[in-house]
């Protein structure tokens, strides 16, 4: 088995989930509590990666961060090398690609929190920020874990976007799904089967975790 590709993939998935946990929370909060009438336009943008073909998303990202775009030129002037075909470029693409997998469960969990509790907290003079961290977050933990775990799992299986912006470089952008593709082309079906089985097991395990949690088989935030 290609341990380097496995390490790259898990690192990518972990970073993607971590970043989405940070930027997904304010986005989900805004989507849940905003009363703006055109909110659905933003909701559609967030959900776009669900329906957009990965090659389309990958193509746009490649053009947007490549040496011919102002953003890409700025990055390579500051950092010293271009962004496409690097781990950082792949991370950026994965964050965009998995955005709905984090934001939607977050928003659904916020929606479930009893509005009366939130309003009681506000009327008692607790600031919105404090209410968010001391009330909304603890009551949404299952949804937050679901979102983080789903974006992690979704990144593990990413293929089309990686093919477009990754460049298949060992230790950098060669992920497990690309490695399977390579092994099949090298007619190493046994090697591909082993790695594929690992991905199947991890994906299944992750889904079991998510469904069990949402069935409240385990209490993630034990009542005291």
């Amino acid at each position: 088995m290609n341990w380097i590709a496995i390490a790259v993939t898990f690192k990518l998935a972990l970073f993607t989930a971590a970043v989405l946990l940070i930027i997904g929370l304010p986005v989900a909060y805004w989507l849940t509590f905003s009363k703006w009438r055109w909110k659905f336009i933003v909701e559609s943008v967030v959900a776009l990666p669900l329906v957009l073909p990965p090659t389309v998303l990958g193509f746009y990202i490649l053009v947007a961060i490549g040496p011919h775009s102002p953003v890409g030129r700025f990055y390579s002037d500051v950092v010293g090398h271009p962004l496409p075909f690097t781990f950082e470029g792949l991370l950026l693409a994965s964050i965009l690609y998995s955005l709905p997998f984090a934001v939607q469960p977050f928003a659904a969990a916020f929606e479930q929190v009893d509005r009366r509790l939130i309003e009681a907290s506000w009327t008692l003079g607790v600031s919105k920020l404090k209410t968010f961290f001391r009330l909304i977050i603890p009551l949404s933990v299952a949804g937050l874990i679901t979102g983080a775990v789903l974006s992690f799992a979704h990144t593990l299986g990413e293929f089309g976007v990686v093919l477009m912006v990754g460049g298949n470089i060992e230790g950098e952008t060669r992920t497990v799904s690309i490695d399977i593709y390579d092994e099949v082309q090298a007619l190493n079906y046994a090697g591909a089967a082993k790695t594929a089985l690992l991905l199947l097991a991890v994906s299944y395990g992750v889904l079991i975790l998510v469904y069990a949690m949402n069935r409240k088989v385990w209490a993630v935030w034990p009542q005291r």
Binding site: K11, G66, P67, G72, P82, F85, I169, Q185, L187
Partner: protein
Amino acid sequence: MIRVILALCMFGITGVNLAIAEEITIAAASDLNFAFREIVTEYEKTTGNHVRLTLGSSGNFYAQIQNGAPFDIYFSADIAYPRKLEEAGLTVPGSLYQYAVGRIVMWTRHESRIDVTQGFEALREPTVKKIAIANPKHAPYGRAAVAAMEYFKVYDQVKDKLVLGENISQAAQFVDSGAADVGIIALSLALAPPMQAAGHYWEIPADSYPPIKQGAVILKGGKNQESSKAFLSFIQGAEGQTMMKRYGFVVPSPR
């Protein structure tokens, strides 16, 4: 177990991958799939340097390099691509050279009833449902296959049977798996041990398609030009040449 620990260590260090001093990243056309895995292993063994090998279609690599892909050396199946990069000023001056001439063959599995020794006439048989070739849009071996079919005047009759691999290795995999009945693939792949075990081939006459002149070049965007030169001299040396010949590459006489 050591590899697991190594992988986990790497997992912990962000951004820094494999802190080995001498490391080069090579983009190689897919017809080099088996030959280069062997050559790279041998090179790593003799020099202790590490090579990161990426295989794909020459046209895709050309586009990626223009977009800033961080490869040190580019082995194209068509010398026209590295030549264009040279004209664009993306290569180390004077490093472009022709490393081989490629050949194409018609390949089928041993149990197939298609008689490839009949040549292109075999493709007209109704039992031939799918013919695998590489995508001629960006794979030089795909273009050679189309040219040969046109030369033997079968292209128009068989073009609906064509299935396109993303590169020549995928075309070979299509026919090796039995999904396609016959394939027009690189001789270097037909000579690879797993392909030799699974099937047989007929060599397509070299005068029926333009010669597949394969070119390599060291890229300016690469990190390690000295190591790149060392790898090129290894390929040009006796050991490298023997391995290339074993995979059916006609090696041009040294300049």
